[in-house]
């Protein structure tokens, strides 16, 4: 009996150490504030009014071509856009402080399948401030921000949240 108690305590301690350290990596701060309505122009010169996406699930990704971890995420956003487009997912990339030529080269090289706009401080402030890249937001069909992913996203969890919001 004593042995069982010691083993349970040890497992508990090990789990506590592991999750205590890793919790911040999985943090997807929940939020339910209304997403800002923005009038943007993408790289192709097309006007994007974010309010026109009402009824869709929108994934906003603040990133930059010069930011290595941001670049690593892009193929996964492309895959998500492909997989869930028909069900109503719209990904939008907002690039921060990229040189125009570098951004266009990146867009072509990665064959990005969703609109990308050149961001600025005003757009960042509209989302409550972007104090590190990458940062992503998941917006529900009701136009409310459902999750914020500061840093690298946990794509398994992100996809589950997208599926739940698309239902």
């Amino acid at each position: 009996m004593r042995r069982v108690a010691v083993v349970i305590a040890a497992v508990g301690l090990a789990v506590a150490i592991y999750y205590g350290t890793h919790a911040r990596h999985r943090d997807t701060r929940s939020s339910t504030s209304q997403a800002p309505a923005l009038a943007l122009v993408d790289l192709g010169g097309n006007k994007i009014d974010t309010s026109s996406y009402a009824g869709k699930v929108v994934l906003i990704n603040f990133w930059a071509a010069w930011c290595t971890p941001c670049a690593e995420e892009i193929p996964q956003f492309i895959a998500l856009q492909d997989k869930y487009r028909a069900q109503g997912l719209q990904v939008i990339g907002i690039s921060m402080e990229d040189r125009n030529s570098a951004l266009r080269d990146f867009y072509r090289k990665y064959k990005m399948n969703y609109p990308v706009v050149a961001g600025n401080e005003k757009i960042a402030e509209a989302y409550g401030g972007i104090l590190g890249l990458p940062t992503s937001f998941l917006i529900g069909r009701d136009g409310r921000i459902r999750a914020k992913y500061p840093g690298l996203a946990d794509f398994a969890k992100l996809e589950q949240e997208i599926i739940a919001l698309l239902r």
Binding site: A9, P69, P150
Partner: protein
């Protein structure tokens, strides 16, 4: 018999603790693609200063370090360490030039703190070129602020003082 069981239990306890320590410390460092032989400014190295330590130094009455921000402007405009000077992203040669100009008149033993916080630490494209530049110029008291995730997560959200503006 009871004593043997206790010993086995304690062995199991130590094995589980060792596994947890491995999972929290060793594995993440490996997954970041770093090895001590090839990477610079590794977490825990002497060149780094922790946010708490810097915040304390800046609030003390004694001589404060010169804090230079070497990241993108959008981040500085939204939030930066109170009193920090904007240099620009040090991955850009133009910003490195700004850095050289800014420090040219400073004594080589000046206390300088560099920081960025644009991206997760191991991927920051700015902090290492800036640090190298000051080393090359012969500065002997340079520290780099360790921001593991970003300026937002590791400084602003921790409640350390910051200000907005260009």
């Amino acid at each position: 018999m009871e004593r043997t069981n206790d010993r086995q239990s304690m062995s199991l306890v130590w094995m589980l603790i060792a596994a947890a320590v491995f999972a929290t410390v060793v594995a993440p460092a490996r997954s970041a693609g770093q090895s001590p032989a090839t990477s610079e400014l590794l977490p825990g190295s002497a060149e780094l200063i922790q946010p708490r330590e810097l915040s304390k130094a800046l609030q003390s009455g004694s001589v404060k370090p010169t804090v230079l921000y070497v990241g993108p402007r959008f981040l500085y405009a939204q939030a930066h360490i109170r009193g920090a000077e904007f240099i620009g992203p040090a991955s850009d040669p133009h910003s490195l030039d700004n850095l050289r100009k800014r420090v040219t008149a400073l004594p080589r033993n000046s206390s300088i703190v560099l920081y960025c916080g644009c991206c997760p630490w191991e991927h920051c494209p700015n902090i290492r070129p800036a640090y190298k530049e000051l080393q090359k110029a012969g500065f002997t008291a340079v520290k780099v602020l360790y921001l593991a995730n970003s300026f937002g997560t590791d400084w602003v959200e921790k409640g350390y003082p910051f200000e907005k503006g260009q």
